[in-house]
């Protein structure tokens, strides 16, 4: 969990993704990180907006926290999302976030959790729209020193959240851009099943902009979005994935991001030490 810096101080790579302790506001989460010795936080745009962007910038600066990611831009497949993504990039720049996580969006018209109405079933077309939007957004991000992090989501979310389904596909999409402009997210929940995952992590190398961890629960809960579990509660073997990400050259923070009804119902001050212990035991880094 920790590494010696040049000055000899141990740096913890554990990062709290804010939605793991979703009951906490940004201010409360920042305070929680300080009290529990967490050095980095992944923030969510809507919570930052609620706290106020300027105030959030001050809070994380005063607390000495690294912003491991801003979640999230994307949803590029339906309507005109460019303006909103430009705003997301500006926010990531203000927060000095290590990356802006991009969840690219599902099939046009499909709304998560809602019955299907008028939708497009043109999956190849939706994927093409993502590539087109990226061609506009990547240079904009580059000019502001922001790194876009393309996140392949588990294929069970292909219809409603992300037509980007594998790490290989994300790397193909990132290929035309400088590594500091477009990277990828390796999220254990989304990629653990992929027969190509170790080959693609090695291929990713410097493209890895974020390493996120949580477990994959079995059986899945009724709402599959909440199938993310505390490490050790599911089926994932984390050590080989951490080793692969490390060997690929990734030295950044490791975010624990858990969407889970039980975790959300629990006291965040109980959750945080519990996941930090499991992180030390199972994830390493």
């Amino acid at each position: 969990m920790s590494a010696e810096t040049g000055g000899g101080r141990a740096v913890s790579r554990f990062a709290l993704n804010q939605w793991t302790t979703r009951r906490w506001s940004v201010a409360e989460a920042v305070d929680g990180c300080v009290r529990h010795g967490v050095e980095a936080i992944g923030l969510w745009r809507q919570d930052v907006a609620e706290q106020g962007l300027d105030e959030t910038v001050e809070l994380v600066r005063d607390a000495g926290l690294r912003v491991s990611s801003l979640c999230r831009g994307g949803f590029l497949t339906s309507g005109d999302a460019l303006d909103d993504n430009r705003r997301a990039i500006d926010e990531a720049a203000a927060l000095k976030a290590a990356c802006l996580v991009m969840v690219v969006g599902g099939l046009p018209g499909v709304v998560p959790g809602e019955p299907l109405g008028a939708i497009s079933r043109d999956l190849a077309g939706a994927r093409e729209r993502v590539a087109e939007a990226l061609a506009v957004l990547a240079p904009y991000a580059g000019e502001r020193g922001v790194r876009l992090a393309l996140e392949p989501l588990h294929p069970m979310y292909c219809a409603d959240r992300a037509v980007l389904s594998t790490l290989g596909q994300a790397l193909d999409l990132a290929d035309p851009y400088p590594v500091e402009q477009v990277g990828v997210v390796v999220d254990t929940f989304h990629v653990w099943w992929d027969p190509e995952v170790f080959r693609q992590i090695a291929r990713a190398g410097e493209r890895i902009a974020s390493y996120q961890v949580c477990d994959f629960l079995s059986p899945l809960p009724a709402d599959v979005l909440l199938g993310r579990g505390v490490m050790g509660d599911g089926v994932i073997d984390f050590a080989p994935l951490t080793t692969a990400v490390t060997e690929a050259g990734y030295t950044g923070d490791i975010e624990v991001e858990i969407f889970n009804a039980d975790v959300w119902a629990a006291d965040p001050d109980e959750v945080l030490p519990r996941i930090m212990t499991r992180f030390d035991e199972l994830v390493g880094g």
Copy 2:
């Protein structure tokens, strides 16, 4: 839906997978096929056992039905499954089934729908066990004129049902064996999301032993096993997949296999014409 044979008779490629009309016994399903003009049926082992193997052989022969598949062998990752799979192969031979569908099994110890107990998280190891079991079963099947059909399942079932998750992975596994011994299943529900699917279908060519269709529902129901919908009720664009399978050279039956609480609750004599109409409209072949 139909094609002219040499003799000028139209042959329907529509096949009823028996679990689409799960309330029907084998005898009832055979009778239903005859009444609705269906020429091929995919059978399930437990239902065949209930009807009696010999009686089932007679029923399908007397009805003039093709047996498009026998479901299913597999579950090769936990314990010793070889004897049971040899029996499944013998049954497929007796039924003259076009193939024995193989659902290879999940992580050792993971039971679908059950809380996790003592499990193995060694995914690579589980995949290795599948390859080892196949090395024993493929020659056994070959000697009996039975074709094993490796079925990649949607990655959301990787933990509990099949560590075989993509068509590419299935083809790698099949590679060492003659095409008549080991083929693959292309099931729209399981593969529609895969960025590699068209490339892998083309690669599959003569390896395609079965083409199964149903839709992918969004949102998924609480039990994701029942996320299979009637064609047109979900997010899949069938035409490009059917075209790809056809261009790869597959000329066999096309099975409609729907696990769905509403479909199962409905009168099979209402379900069958409904799915045959949707098949004509959306799947083709």
